[in-house]
């Protein structure tokens, strides 16, 4: 454990610089059957490869196995067929090396901790020194635009602010891979747009692979380098759409012809 937490510190890439080496996330013929009665085939023959630093969205109807796929990548749930590798390692090994950051639909902050203590939580679990935790929490709160809110309790924040705290918490161990499961689905349209822009800014500073699950086509295009379209059931990747829109991006982008074309393409793929 100690050894591993030292690794986390050593592999820390500071803001701006990003370690582009490694193989990224590779998913080969991955299948998953839940041992329910009758057995439920949630994923079937899923293949993809995400290069280091790429932002990839997973889009598809409810129940097509998006959350399941994130759990498999994070090493929380073993695949029943095929293999996932994270920079050549198994998901379980990658999890031991603390390479993942997780953001969920609900912020799920710990109500008994202040905002700052919530951001420090994962650092405590991996035994980072107190001073280091404090430093990181300060930086991250500033990064997500919540400097000065550290002493508040989560219940005192709006939904959008709570989700920012959740993002800061996920970044606390400088993950190589950020897994986001419909993180903005519970927010209203305006908060969602703001946070989309913010997320891109944060991602530019703290570059990592992002696997971003969403139901929202525009959000997927706006954020991603690539969109994986999933279909039910059993969940598989029906098509992959590359998004060759220039970065940095702003909300104006959404009226560009190329954006509209991509939107039409994705809509057709999802309705089919």
């Amino acid at each position: 454990m100690r050894q591993l937490s030292a690794d986390v510190q050593a592999s820390k890439a500071g803001p701006g610089q990003f370690d582009m080496s490694g193989d990224g996330v590779r998913c080969e013929r991955v299948g998953l059957t839940y041992p329910t009665r009758p057995p439920l085939r949630a994923l079937d023959d899923v293949n993809f490869h995400i290069e280091p630093g790429q932002f990839v969205s997973l889009i598809g109807p409810s129940g097509c196995g998006k959350s399941t796929l994130l759990r498999i990548v994070a090493g929380i749930l073993p695949a029943t067929q095929g293999a996932v590798t994270i920079d050549g390692a198994t998901p379980f090994e990658a999890r031991e090396q603390r390479r993942f950051g997780f953001v969920f639909q609900d912020a799920v902050l710990l109500p008994w901790r202040s905002v700052r203590q919530n951001v420090e939580l994962l650092g405590e679990i991996v035994n980072l020194p107190k001073a280091e935790r404090t430093r990181r929490a300060g930086e991250l709160l500033e990064l997500v635009g919540l400097a000065g809110f550290g002493q508040l309790r989560p219940s005192e924040l709006s939904g959008g602010m709570r989700q920012r705290v959740a993002i800061a918490r996920a970044l606390a161990l400088d993950p190589r891979i950020l897994l986001m499961d419909e993180p903005f689905a519970a927010l209203d349209e305006f908060q969602r747009e703001t946070l989309n822009v913010e997320l891109l800014r944060i991602w530019t500073e703290r570059r990592s692979i992002v696997m971003f699950v969403t139901h929202n086509i525009e959000e997927a295009i706006f954020l991603s380098d690539r969109v994986l379209v999933m279909t039910p059931p059993p969940g598989r990747i029906a098509s992959v759409v590359d998004v060759d829109l220039p970065r940095p991006r702003d909300l104006q982008l959404r009226s560009e012809p190329e954006f509209l074309r991509l939107r039409r393409t994705l809509r057709d793929l999802l309705i089919r």
Binding site: A74, F102, P111, V126, R153, S155, L173, L179
Partner: protein
Amino acid sequence: MISSSASERPAVQSSRNPDAAAASRGFRALLSDQWLRWVVVIGILVLWQIGTVVFEIPKFLIPSPIVIGQALWTYRAMLLTNTIPTVEEAAAGFILGNLIAVVLATWFVHVRTARQALYPLAIVIQSIPMVALAPVFVVAMGTGFSSKVAMTTLISFFPTLVNATRGLDAVERPLIELFQSVNASRRDIYVKLRFPNALPYIFLGLRVTATSSVIGAIIAEWVGAQEGLGFMVINSTYEFNAPMLWATLVVSSALVLCVFALVAVVERFVVPWQASAEMATGGKR
């Protein structure tokens, strides 16, 4: 009780609330609430007093409040010396029963088979009427301290076991996954997630068992005890001393109220986030 705790909570919150107007409004509401309660209590006492005089009810049947007040004063030394053993029995059983309950609940959430084997047993034990158990403990353990503590321990055990188990279980799945995603140990998940999450539930159990352990101690003292408030209840009944009996009842219920208030105060310090959560949802849980 429930309404009193709900109306007292906002007062705690208001001290941290920057909105001074809202704070003072909350305080005024609390004050008028208190007033209303006192008016009702005093009203009942006055009617009681008038009733006993008008209908000439003999004081060996139902003594008037003034007679009870006099008895409280007359027997003050005896009441005090008999309160102490009751408090000790209740406190010992309260601490022991709740400790066992939390430890067992911890075991239950980690070892599924332990829960499956023992939880039904706990429910069976709980279904035995406690009053009927008092003689059983006396027969088994004698009339001393230990039989009383056995009783209060058993009474304190079950409500907290149920609530603690529920609280330790009631952790959102994404939070577990978050902990797992950084390879947290089960110990970390317990210490940093499950236990704090269970605290409001545990306090639900503590509130119930704080009062029932006092009542349990009194009931236990009905059977062959030489001291305690329960002993005084039985003794004054044998002596046909109704004022003393009623004075003992007043002290007993005052004790129950004190214990309940004590737990409520401790809860506010230990589980402050719960108070603010209740504020946010308008006092509902």
